[in-house]
Amino acid sequence: MATTEDPKTGLGATGAWRRELYDAKPERAGELFSTMSGIENEPLYTAESVDVDYERDLGFPGVYPFTRGVYPSMYRGRLWTMRQFAGFGTAEETNERFRYLLEHGQTGLSTAFDMPTLMGYDSDHARSLGEVGREGVAVDSLDDMETLFSGIPLADVSTSMTINAPAAMLLAFYACVGEKQGTPIAALRGTVQTDILKEYIAQKEWIFPPQPSMRLVVDMIEWCSREMPLMHPVSISGYHIREAGSTAAQELAFTLADGFAYVDACIERGLDVDEFAPRLSFFFNAHLDFFEEIAKYRAARRIWATRLREHYGAKNPRSWLMRFHTQTAGVSLTAQQPEVNLIRTAIEALAAVLGGTQSLHTNSFDEALALPTEHAVRLALRTQQVIAHETGAVNTIDPLGGSYYVEHLTNELERQAYDYFERIDKLGGVVPAIEENFFQREIAEASYRYQSEVEQKQRIVVGVNRYELDDEPEPELLRIDPALEQKQIERVQALRARRDGAAAESALANLKRAAAGDGNLMEPIVAASRAYVTMGEMCDALRDVWGVWRETPVF
């Protein structure tokens, strides 16, 4: 690289500028200049400070290592999918919200399930008390799934389902709804989250211990590659890791490490990497440190492509592509002056777009307070539409590529990710590292550090530790009718009474037998779903065989 040395100081021109001009004036005191994740920033980046080999490190969009984007045409070919996550109450309420979003121009569905569903309990289980339909929709059986997608032809939409521990059951329900609508399951499109590793690491909605959980994940990947080739069976998620308080580098590193762990598990099962890797997808957070986020997505694509090609020997270029969904950072939303969240979300969404996301959820401004109202959801969707159609951000691919600063951050995040991979390898891999609380401790440290910085006002959060209002008006909130819980309990109990009891029992016994063996469990799960065995009944059967996971908490 060409450097101009300053004749007097012997430093490069940047160093000379810094000494002679920049350092001559004091910096503002108090606030930190490092990124939100704690990466130190220089006041200026120039060609001298960044080592980039264009062909090797960046390449062209749609060309290895895909730093600049996974597709040659990116948003000039097709905009990202605007996919708002929705779900509350019973299947009827959520079905109504789905139709509302489709009418307003949303292009894909994304289902939020309630806590009991995420944890594998039916709505009438004692542990579900007070939680039914609160944070998502309650789905106990195929019957609820039929209601959830009533009037929505599955042949025409792609559906994302945020479900992990009982992902296999929900995928089976979805396949059965398709069947009933007369759509071949091979034509169904969508994504099931299924990423159990990040549950142990961050989101904490688990059921079974890691080994049988990993088996279920691989069963789904294997089954989908044969039966539902348009489905993404896993969405390897950094979103929740970040929400739990990680840094951007940790989000990047832990998510990719989880991804490698799934690839390893599939290879161990005997699958060929090119058979399943093209259907793996990712899910990242879009937080407020604009450039750091853009760099994170770029680094993620480069690391994934390199590892898949060089380490796993994938031959199919589609195996090298990291495609990802993004959601703006829920944790960045404030309960104080909630309208300000519209601005935060817009900036985060722009980072996701400039980072080359394939789909995007924008949070609603009232979500630090409750589930979003329809008004708030519409504004969130409009935010994406403004970025897509009014800002010009879509006209040029990877417009920040070549920015000295963004390339520096991309390299730095990549370096930190490789450091983490080494530490995880030394612990024996992702599962042993989970068992030793490695990730949990790293995240707790980072989140505590950030909180301390906010409390010392080294980081300013508008409306929270500066520019506060004394008298905040009470915003209008979505209230979930408590009667919905009782209604859902009655629904699942009525289903159990009316289904063919003998058929349900035999399908359940069959699943339990299969779980004790080592065959793929998807067929018995689909058969049980068809017989209207509930999700909770299936999970209970598997709990009997496999036991449950318990965490030793650290703080």
Partner: protein
């Protein structure tokens, strides 16, 4: 010297969001309190059992799942049933204002919403727990 305040930090129900609970647990510990963190997915009965066994001065309930109006009253009820109604109960999480008022009527000492600084919670406990 003032005696050490003992606090149980609890996550009731199925809610897995433990970022806040862990930050509070650590901040209280750094402030010199003895902190017992229950871990996740606790029933009201388990939380009260821990509070009684640990002879806690206060229980801090972290809940972001919207189930607070079901789970918190059950914890209060179980404390009373176990003769532990003198244990101070504070709640943190996404609790709408009118729910917070109702919980206070039922016996919750304070409700801290998103953005509450940990120092405020430390000061509150120091003031509210009898020396």
């Amino acid at each position: 010297m003032a005696r050490t305040i003992r606090v149980v930090i609890a996550k009731p129900g199925l809610d897995g969001h433990d970022r806040g609970a862990k930050i509070i647990a650590r901040a209280l510990r750094d402030a010199g309190m003895e902190v017992i963190y229950t871990g996740l997915h606790q029933t009201p009965e388990q939380i009260v059992e821990t509070a009684v066994q640990e002879d806690a001065d206060a229980v801090g309930i972290s809940i972001l799942s919207g189930a607070h109006m079901t789970l918190v009253p059950r914890i209060l009820e179980q404390l009373r049933a176990n003769g532990a109604e003198d244990v101070l109960v504070v709640v943190g999480g996404t609790v709408p204002v009118d729910d917070a008022e109702e919980l206070k009527k039922q016996g919750v000492a304070a409700v801290f919403g998103p953005g509450a600084p940990t120092s405020e919670i430390v000061d509150f406990l120091r003031g509210a727990v009898p020396a």
